[in-house]
Subunit: 341 residues, 2 copies
DNA sequence: ACTAAGAGCGTAATCGTTTACGGTAATCGA
DNA sequence: TCGATTACCGTAAACGATTACGCTCTTAGT
C-alpha cells in the first residue's frame, strides 16, 4: 500500500508537507511544492487511509442508525432523510436492522462504541437500552419514534433528543372523522398490545369514542398484527358484530381487510368505512376512496439528523423532544356508512 | 477516554497482557491475571477502540454495499440477505444509496477505498465504474443485478464476481404464458429504454413473440417508467389498439394499470390479462388472479455475500457469474382473454 | 545437578496520519 | 547592517491497539 511517506520520499519533502498539501491547508506550502506533491500523489495513486486519520483525529465522522427493519416503507423514507442531511454535513451513515431484537441492538451499540461513532440515532427496542456508555463517551443519541427516559437507571441526567409522531392524536382524529361520517360501531385493529406505538393508537381511538359519548365495545377491538392469513377471519367476525367502520394500523392491514371484503363480495363502497393510520405510496391508487393519515417520514429523518447536528455543535444544550404531525387525507365527496349485505 | 494503558496500569500488568487477555488468546496469561485484568476492565468501563485496532490489523472488517435505492422492496430483501451473512461472519455493512447517480457512486467508492473496506458489493450505475483502484488495493468486488466487464479499460484482467437475475428469460416465459393462455396482441411496458435490465425485459418479450410466429407491434410497446399519472393514458391507448394482454415490468406499474382499468370500468376478470415481472409481497392479496414472476431477492443477497466471502478466503479464484432464476406464479384455473367492452 | 522446555509476561516497534514546535532563509524596514 | 517578520518546511510526538521477540522463573527429565 502506498502511504504518505512514499509520496513524501518521491517528492523530496516531509510527510508533514504532504499532509498539509493534500488537506489543502492554505499558505503552508509554496505553489511549486504543491504542484509536485499533487503530481506524485496522482502518479503513485495514493489513497489516504482514513483509519490512520481517524485515529489521529480521534473521530470517525460517521453515524450509527438503528431501525427495526428496512423492509418498512416508512423506515426507508426516514433513513433517506437522515442520509441526505448526513452527507451534506460530511458524515457517513452505518445503518443496522435490529428487528426489534434487544440482542442485535446491543451488538450494534457496542459496535458504535468501539468504532467511536460521532452520533447514534435509533428506534429503541425498549425503555432500558444501555446508552449511558455512549453518552459518557460523548456520543450524542437521538431516539426516534419511541421515547427514552431522560434519566438513566442510576439517576444521572441524560442529554438526549427525541423525535416522535403524534400516534394517539392521529388515531383520535381518524376515529373522529369516521364518527362525523356517521359511523357508530367502529372497530379497531391497532396492532400489537405489546407495542408502545400500537397501544397509543388504541388510546386515541378510545378517547375519540369517549369524547362523542360512545361506548368502547372490546369485541370490536383486536390487538394483533393482522397478517394476510388472519385478515379474513378477523374481518368476518367484525362484520358479524355489525361494525360499520374499521380503524386499521397500517397499509398492510388495510390491504388484508380490503382483500377479505372482496372475498365476502363487498368493497369499500358497499361495506364498512376504513381508516388507515398510515399510508404507503401505492395506497391511494389502490383504494382512492379510503381515508388515510400520511406520516412525514422523510421529515422525520431530517429532523432527527438536525437535532444530532445541533448537539454535535453544542453538546450542552438541554434535551429536546419534537413531535411531528401527520396529515389526514379524506377522499372528496364520500358518503355515509353503507348498510351490510 | 480509558485506554488499554489505563487498564494495564491499574492491573499492574503490561498493555500486551491486557490485549492478550481481552482478545482471549489461550494460555498466554495465568488464570489469576486474567481475572484481575477483566475485573479492572469492567471497573473502568473500558471500551476497545476499533480504530486503533483496525490500524494495527490493517483491515476494517466491514463491507460497503451500494444499491440504487433502499426504497425498492427488492433491494431491502437483498440487503437483508447480505446483512445476515455478513453478521454471521463477523463483518459490518455500510450501505449507501446511489440513486443511480455516478457522482454519488464515485463518492461512496472513494470512501470505501479510504476506509479500507474489506469488500464491496454494488449495483453499478454504468459499465465503466472505476473499481480498479479498489481491486489493486486487494478489495474484492461483487457486481449485483448488472454485469461489469471482467477486463479493465487498460486491458488488465479483473477478478470480480457477478450475480444476475434471468430478466430476459423471465420476460420470455411470462410472454409465453400469456400466449398459451390465448392472448395474441400482447403489450409490453418494460421500463426505461436506457436501463440495461429494462431492455433485457423487452428482448425476452420479443423472443417469445418470434418463437411463436407473432409479429412485434411497436405501438404496443411503451418504454418509460409508468407513473401513476401516466398509467391511465397509456392503458387507454393500449386498449384502443386492441391489446388483449399487458406484460409489465414491476408491481408499481401493475398497480397503475389496475387502477386505470378500474377507472375505465374494467378489472382483471373483464379486461386484458396481466403479467408482472416482479411481485411485491402485497401483490397476491391485491390481485390474486394475476400472473407474476417472483424474484429470489433474499437469496440474491446471500449469494452475493457468499461469493465475497469465498474470495476473501482465496483471492486468486477465477471470476464467477451466477444467474438466479425467478419463479412464475400462475393463478389456478384462470380463463382465456376476455373480450373488450 | 544440569539442561531443556515451556509458561507467563514485558519491551518496544509498528500501523498511517496529523500537528505542535522549531528551524532556516529570505525579505523588509529603519 | 542589524533585527524583526514571514514564508516555507522538517522533526518528532502523538493517537490506541497488536504482536514479534526476548527475558525470567518454574518444572521436568536425565
Amino acid at each position: 500500500m502506498v502511504t504518505i511517506a512514499d509520496v513524501a520520499r518521491r517528492a523530496n519533502v516531509s510527510t508533514a508537507t504532504v499532509s498539509r498539501v493534500l488537506n489543502g491547508l492554505p499558505g503552508q506550502a509554496s505553489e511549486e511544492t504543491q504542484q509536485r506533491v499533487r503530481a506524485v500523489a496522482r502518479e503513485l495513486q495514493y489513497v489516504p487511509n482514513s483509519i490512520g486519520r481517524n485515529l489521529r483525529r480521534q473521530e470517525s465522522r460517521s453515524w450509527t442508525l438503528l431501525l427495526p427493519t428496512i423492509e418498512n416503507p416508512f423506515v426507508t423514507q426516514l433513513s433517506r432523510g437522515i442520509e441526505d442531511v448526513a452527507q451534506a454535513s460530511g458524515y457517513g451513515v452505518l445503518m443496522g436492522n435490529t428487528y426489534d431484537d434487544p440482542e442485535k441492538e446491543r451488538a450494534y451499540l457496542r459496535e458504535a462504541e468501539m468504532s467511536r461513532a460521532s452520533g447514534v440515532l435509533l428506534t429503541p427496542t425498549s425503555d432500558d437500552v444501555a446508552i449511558d456508555t455512549l453518552l459518557d463517551l460523548g456520543v450524542p443519541v437521538v431516539s426516534i419514534l419511541r421515547p427514552l427516559p431522560t434519566r438513566s437507571p442510576n439517576g444521572a441526567d441524560r442529554k438526549l433528543d427525541i423525535v416522535l409522531n403524534d400516534t394517539a392524536e392521529t388515531s383520535r382524529r381518524g376515529t373522529q372523522s369516521l364518527i362525523e361520517r356517521g359511523c357508530r360501531r367502529i372497530a379497531c385493529l391497532p396492532g400489537l398490545y405489546e407495542d408502545h406505538t400500537d397501544r397509543l393508537r388504541y388510546e386515541g381511538y378510545k378517547q375519540a369514542l369517549e369524547e362523542n359519548g360512545l361506548e368502547v365495545d372490546l369485541s370490536l377491538v383486536h390487538f394483533s398484527s393482522v397478517s394476510e392469513d388472519l385478515a379474513p377471519d378477523v374481518t368476518r367476525r367484525l362484520l358479524q358484530r355489525k361494525a360499520d367502520a374499521i380503524l386499521v394500523a397500517n397499509s398492510l392491514t388495510a390491504l388484508g381487510v380490503i382483500g377479505s371484503l372482496k372475498s365476502l363480495g363487498l368493497d369499500l363502497d358497499h361495506g364498512p368505512s376504513l381508516f388507515s393510520c398510515d399510508s404507503a405510496s401505492w395506497m391511494p391508487i389502490l383504494a382512492p376512496q379510503m381515508s388515510t393519515a400520511r406520516q412525514p417520514a422523510y421529515d422525520f429523518g431530517t429532523t432527527a439528523a438536525n437535532l444530532l447536528l445541533d448537539r454535535l455543535e453544542n453538546p450542552s444544550i438541554d434535551p429536546r423532544t419534537t413531535v411531528l404531525e401527520s396529515t389526514i387525507h379524506q377522499p372528496v365527496g364520500h358518503q355515509g356508512p353503507a348498510t351490510g349485505p
